[in-house]
Assembly symmetry: C2
Homo-oligomer: 548 residues x 2
Amino acid sequence: MTARADAAAPGRTGADLLCETLLAHGVDHCFANPGTSEMHFVAALDRQPRMRCVLGLAEGVVTGAADGYARMAGRPACTLMHTGPGLANGLANLHNARRAGSPVVNIVGDHATWHLAHDAPLTSDIESLARPMSHWVGRCAAAGAGPGGADNVGTAAAEAVRQARAAPGRIATLILPADLAWGATDAPVPSPLQPPALAAFSAPRPPDAARLAAAARALLQGGKGTLLLLAGHALRAEALEWAAAIAATTGARLLAQQANARVERGRGRVMIDRVPYVVDKALATLAGTRQAVLVGAKAPVGFFAYPGKPSSMLPGGCEVIAAATPEEDGAAALRELAALVGAKREAARDAIAGNAAATGRPEPPRPTGAITSATLAQAVVAVLPEQAIVCDESVSSGRDFFPMSWHAAPHDYLQITGGAIGCGIPLATGAALAAPARKVLALQADGSAMYTLQGLWTQARERLDVVTVILSNRRYAILHGEYAQVGAGAPGANARRLFDLEDPALDWVALARGMGVPGERCETAERLTEVLRAAMHQRGPFLVEAAL
Amino acid sequence: MTARADAAAPGRTGADLLCETLLAHGVDHCFANPGTSEMHFVAALDRQPRMRCVLGLAEGVVTGAADGYARMAGRPACTLMHTGPGLANGLANLHNARRAGSPVVNIVGDHATWHLAHDAPLTSDIESLARPMSHWVGRCAAAGAGPGGADNVGTAAAEAVRQARAAPGRIATLILPADLAWGATDAPVPSPLQPPALAAFSAPRPPDAARLAAAARALLQGGKGTLLLLAGHALRAEALEWAAAIAATTGARLLAQQANARVERGRGRVMIDRVPYVVDKALATLAGTRQAVLVGAKAPVGFFAYPGKPSSMLPGGCEVIAAATPEEDGAAALRELAALVGAKREAARDAIAGNAAATGRPEPPRPTGAITSATLAQAVVAVLPEQAIVCDESVSSGRDFFPMSWHAAPHDYLQITGGAIGCGIPLATGAALAAPARKVLALQADGSAMYTLQGLWTQARERLDVVTVILSNRRYAILHGEYAQVGAGAPGANARRLFDLEDPALDWVALARGMGVPGERCETAERLTEVLRAAMHQRGPFLVEAAL
């Protein structure tokens, strides 16, 4: 073998072209954990101080933060990960981002094109790893280009951003071989995006008139047997008012799908319930539904399958009408549906939290006594500031918060969408970067928190205004429930060893301090409320271990 | 949709058949992080107290521990992971296990077969995720079997174990849909393995006589221009003596490949160097090599590609002869090669550490002053007990240990093999479970440790006899080096934000305490030696933060 002639370019490289293209297309946050094959990309980042580089100490933090950023910023960040194993570590939170409809541009470094044939230790099939969690996978290609093919990197990057920005938001993964990153190029940046396209996703497709008309007919004829099921942008404040007006006018029932990327919620906003997670509750909730009108939502299915229980949560024979698919403009669909059924926005009045005389939901009491799912929710409702962002990966112990949060100050509610645990701390990290003026509150189950606790360090490094509440019940409580649900009886010794986080108990205040985040453990609802209230009035990361 | 008729079996299930098959085939350790789709497997584990269930609080711990277990036990454990995202979290350490030639049987739970079509939130393409890091991927299939297909689970599990046990050790991933786990079956356990097959891997293939003869001719004719390059079982103590005898007899040069699953090392054992990691050093080391005889090794290539540098570390025109492939019996190949070249085992005498009058490697001094790569290595050499297991993911700061470890008590040396960082703590965890009577010492870089620090909790839970030394230099030091190597100049602001772990510094003693592991921070080599010596004389997990 002889030495390669293609030494690193002393001037502008393919990596520079990549950075310039990302910035010109509105991508100016880079969540990263780089390795050797990404060194020229890092060098290019060094020449672009406009790109904010945020280090995650494990790739689950990197991708989960990109998800949280996208949900709040409405546009993609990029990630930078190191070959197949680096990407693999980030896949679980890409799975959640994909289910959330979040736009993300992944840059995955790979060996130089001519090095791949040698099967060096880090070589792997990156495309096979990327595909299940990506809507689009591309590789910067040497073929047909100048020396090293670095000229191609700009068009590949522009295509990756375009793919990510397609409604509702998609995962685009671009593989960047090292020699294309270090090769010389004077190729121009592909035509940059202009405002207003730069500020937000590409416009979703307008809803289909024929489907809207069919949905309107169903709503007008259906009455109480009709479900209006929302997801995506249909869960923002104004769209929700149109949805509530339609429901009030037609007698249809309003629900959000079970897991949602972002809901605008709290006092002054439309009260909406979700399809329950537990299958028997979902079946009971949806019993009697004869037609389901979907706006951005999918027909509800069980999160898991159970012996003797159905996959679909809708009764047999229920008609399903997609008024707007997830790719279509759900907010526009609701405005047009309202016009078609003759609903005035004022009709939403009684569905708005704080307006309704008889919501059947009394103001929550002052939390006292032991910390429970209920008193925790009461404490959060009592202290949440205006325009907070709540990131919910509370799993079993936090289920009382959502129904109670009508009484809280107006806030954005972000939740785990794909069931891949470990999204909460990273999600809060990314949301805080996208909305630095807003308080972020993470409601975080302890078992799930352990998956990506490294994100606390990023919160400290970036001085993010995030309060994390660890719901410390010292077990995968949901598995105790699921074990019972599948009919397996009482857990024995091996099951308890797999479900319980005791022996030893985790000390979350020590873990947080180890990463530079101050914290306190609370054992009563009164103390929890005090500590949370104080945390809301100071800035910077803080952790509360709520002992359940 | 109507309710499914296939309720959970009240009696023996497919999951029971799976557990029984694993045990009958010598798999009695299960590293796990289960979810809802694995509840019936957990119920089956509950009925099999012989199966030792070890919980990892993230899947990187699960798979890395299975790798460490396999390297020391010589037979596979199984893992239990939850659908595609759970597997994804474990892939990086499966990548390392694959490169190590470690046998691992992964059981990945999936939705019930009839639930997959509904695209529930956790649905993903598990096969596509599994394939890059698996030698074999299978799925328990419903087709052609009894109700639910649970009868098929036993043969699928037996095949997975058979695949994993193929030499040198392979990654077998079996996907288990929930309905096949809960379905009833009275199918028998496929013919169990008998001793001695049960105790170890399937026998590797005998080496090929013609290739051995060619290798012997090359060794006899080549002299100093011949390299004898070893990996796998050729690096165990007895095989190394035959290799050293061959080298002494023929004048060939002896080296181990750069990254190795397990080397038997220390006083009384053959001194052997590795191919260096740094490309320029590797090229200089191998300059003048005219023929390379491989025993279990692959021809050496650069870990990464660099501008203007070659992929192969062997000079152009160097002849490569595979005396034994990684699938063949390397120890037998060395014995036969020794006979063919007329080497007596006594000829190894001068290559054995402690025997050689003039090894050119003086006894290391007592470590004093600041903690550096050199004084750290001196401290470890001074305190290491007989038959310890050293797990090395020290990356840049630990490179002085390997050349100095001839002076240490005899030990097994396990290192990161695939370049996917985050293997060290899990590897030590699994090795300790496989060899409970031996002390385990993990030499662990701080940046890599953060990937899978959750493994410390498993060490506390299982009372494992592991001492972890965190090499705390508060940076990805290797990236500083690589940044220089690729010719990118001095790191700027963005690069330093991605390479340095300062602001805030990690407090490793707090992190360890948070997971139930006691620890101490050391700032001088003297104190480090004292603390390490004390830790070697007590049992149970302990962490030392060595401030470099």
